[in-house]
Symmetry: C2
Subunit: 470 residues, 2 copies
Amino acid sequence: MMKQIALVSMTLLVFAGGCSRNTIAETYGEDARKIIQATLDKNDAWTKMEELCDGIGYRLSGSPGLEQAVEWAVASMKADGQERVHTETVMVPKWVRGNEWAKMVKPHEYELHMLGLGLSVGTPPNGITAPVVCVKDEKEFEALGDQMKGKIVLFNNPMPEYHPEKGAQYGTAVRFRSRGPRMASEKGALACLVRSVTAYSLRSPHTGATSYDKETPKIPAAAISTEDAAMISRLTARGEEVIVKLKMDAKNHGMVPSANVIGELRGSTRPDEVLVIGGHLDAWDVGHGAHDDAGGCVIAMEAINVLRRLNLIPKRTIRVVLWTNEENGLNGGRQYAKDHADEMPKHIGAIESDSGVFAPKGISVQHRDANIQAIAAKQLEDILQLLEPINANMVKEGWSGADISPMKPAGVVLMGFMVEGSTYFHLHHSHADTLDKVNPDELSRCVAALAVVSYVLADMPGRLGVPSEN
Amino acid sequence: MMKQIALVSMTLLVFAGGCSRNTIAETYGEDARKIIQATLDKNDAWTKMEELCDGIGYRLSGSPGLEQAVEWAVASMKADGQERVHTETVMVPKWVRGNEWAKMVKPHEYELHMLGLGLSVGTPPNGITAPVVCVKDEKEFEALGDQMKGKIVLFNNPMPEYHPEKGAQYGTAVRFRSRGPRMASEKGALACLVRSVTAYSLRSPHTGATSYDKETPKIPAAAISTEDAAMISRLTARGEEVIVKLKMDAKNHGMVPSANVIGELRGSTRPDEVLVIGGHLDAWDVGHGAHDDAGGCVIAMEAINVLRRLNLIPKRTIRVVLWTNEENGLNGGRQYAKDHADEMPKHIGAIESDSGVFAPKGISVQHRDANIQAIAAKQLEDILQLLEPINANMVKEGWSGADISPMKPAGVVLMGFMVEGSTYFHLHHSHADTLDKVNPDELSRCVAALAVVSYVLADMPGRLGVPSEN
């Protein structure tokens, strides 16, 4: 099968694309209009968001809130009449932030707005008080060399403004949050501060996972607001000595059980073939993770709810998977791929929504095989014509989602649900990722878009990534 | 004199306007171009901002920071070669925020982002724990009646979005921060929370002064972020009981000495006639008060610095006044008007900049006499033609500044320096009012605009608010 696909010519691709465009439009036009109309008229996504965000609160891995969210998701999908609703155990790290603060003590006393990085070790009980050295990038870091010994290293690398074509460029901007503590530790630093990964701030620190290696000592690491990072850099640039005191009680408590939550809209004729859709149920212990990723969970739950209400039961199964522990471990995604390894060939695709629930834009597709990816992209271009009425018909290639990435080696077609992204990183991993930032109309459009795409992918005669026969 | 002015006809006004337009343009066109060019080429405003904001820190009335700022301003104006640099003692309230926090304890534990309101009393040592009742406006407040007894009242009144013509509408939006604690106390409430006065938030609480009266018990009052206010309102609307614990160590410590700072560019031929320009040196004990109002102080300091460097010495004196205690008392403004009462007839005008140092837009003029105000506005329209190159030629009527308002009864022509205002209240009285929010180019344009207007007003043959003779 794979070899055949690899040999597919561009001519056939274009031809297949042309054919399926007509077929999809003819076959699913009416259903798509019905789904969109019914969803925009009325759906329960906002109520689910209120229950999950306002009603439960923080849901970091290892916290009671996350396990309440697991229970809530099970109860909610059961109440919606979904099938085979169950949990699948996942071991997740229990990292507890504890009390934490940082202040500048020289040249004057000034509270820094900080959040310890996820999985960071804490400071000694009396904190760490040391002069700060600032670096903007790798070049400045290398130039400093021994001057970091015994100091607190601040990585003041600004995230660029959102770019309509390049996007947020998070992948690049996040590098010092991930690697900074290791880099600083190797040079003998006592602690590591990183400028929050955001291009816009109102003194809002943004947390996120960091990592260590085995060779170098684990030093405490925290994000500070962009404002505080900029201020310290201005002071040191003027030749002032800046001394910071950092106090963090953060502690890793080993692994504890959590769970992925699963519910299905069982397929009518080929129920063993599965389209996975979902998001991650865990969130950072700040704000309510409304966009990251309550929204992703809720639009998946509500997408099959809408279809079931309309009695639109596709041939294949649509399986909602709400992963646990995306933020600081990815153990939910890994466990799902492992537990369902035998079933992977029957996974016709997986769609993750983990970029917020702003106005939906379309789908990005990713496959380990570039040819299959291209075929799938072409098919999606045809399918997403059905989403033109809600401006969600954009198809891109090469990106999908973290929780579904462990299914990549098995050859599953991975898809990322794309939304308008200009403000996502203003909120991401911060106290400000709260429900008021979600627009109910945009949320409904996300549900509609995901329901239409899921229904067509689960129902269409051909399989995503496999060229049309005619 | 005043009677004559009141009788001035519209015809004369228009005629005078026409005349002075030519005269001003002819007389001051070259000087204005020179001032603008020199200022945009190079000025010390940014360095002054760094010294005041980054170098000193918090400067609330009664704090060491404010007194350091007073010393800094004296030293800075002396270093610039300004004349008669001195301080004038003002007694100001010493209110200390102390430790403070609030959390929702039911339906789940959730940290609220709060800032105690300035001049608020503290809570008992163990805090106040009580159910919350929400009201949006006066109507909902009145309807609640006795239900507020023994509760924490939350005023969840949203600030409207910035409107290009109506502006920020702060005056209306701020009413519950000012009066809410009194209103709630009258109904037997234990504490008062108000939704932060901002239309945009990243979980950023905004403080500001509140007030009590003598009859009702003083209850603790705090602002919470708009997100937290919205969440509590959603929860109560769904019928959930919301319980909040509020802890505030805030305390009033009576009156302590502070000072207004004064420095002059002495007039060449009529030095006893004075144009006052300035801002307030105090700021809330959060962020660095960069826009509110370090910027207003610095552009005034730098405006006369630019003129002195260019050897443009006007006939009348330009007096920089940096008021203390605008934020929670206005004692600096009151004391200046009192101490200089005899000199008021010689005050040809007063310009306050206290709306941030964004792109300059122009001047708003205010006088106790509507006719004089109209004459002054007409004259300013002519003068501000000189600021067309930097788009700062807008003239409005009816608003000026808080610190200069005590000079209104004496008949001084009051002016407010207007800037682009769409984001000011995102930062106002919050941790986010920091130097990074100031654009150095916009800051320079503010200096240029203020220098040109000040120079012309202090040098022109006629007096602002007095119709031209010809």
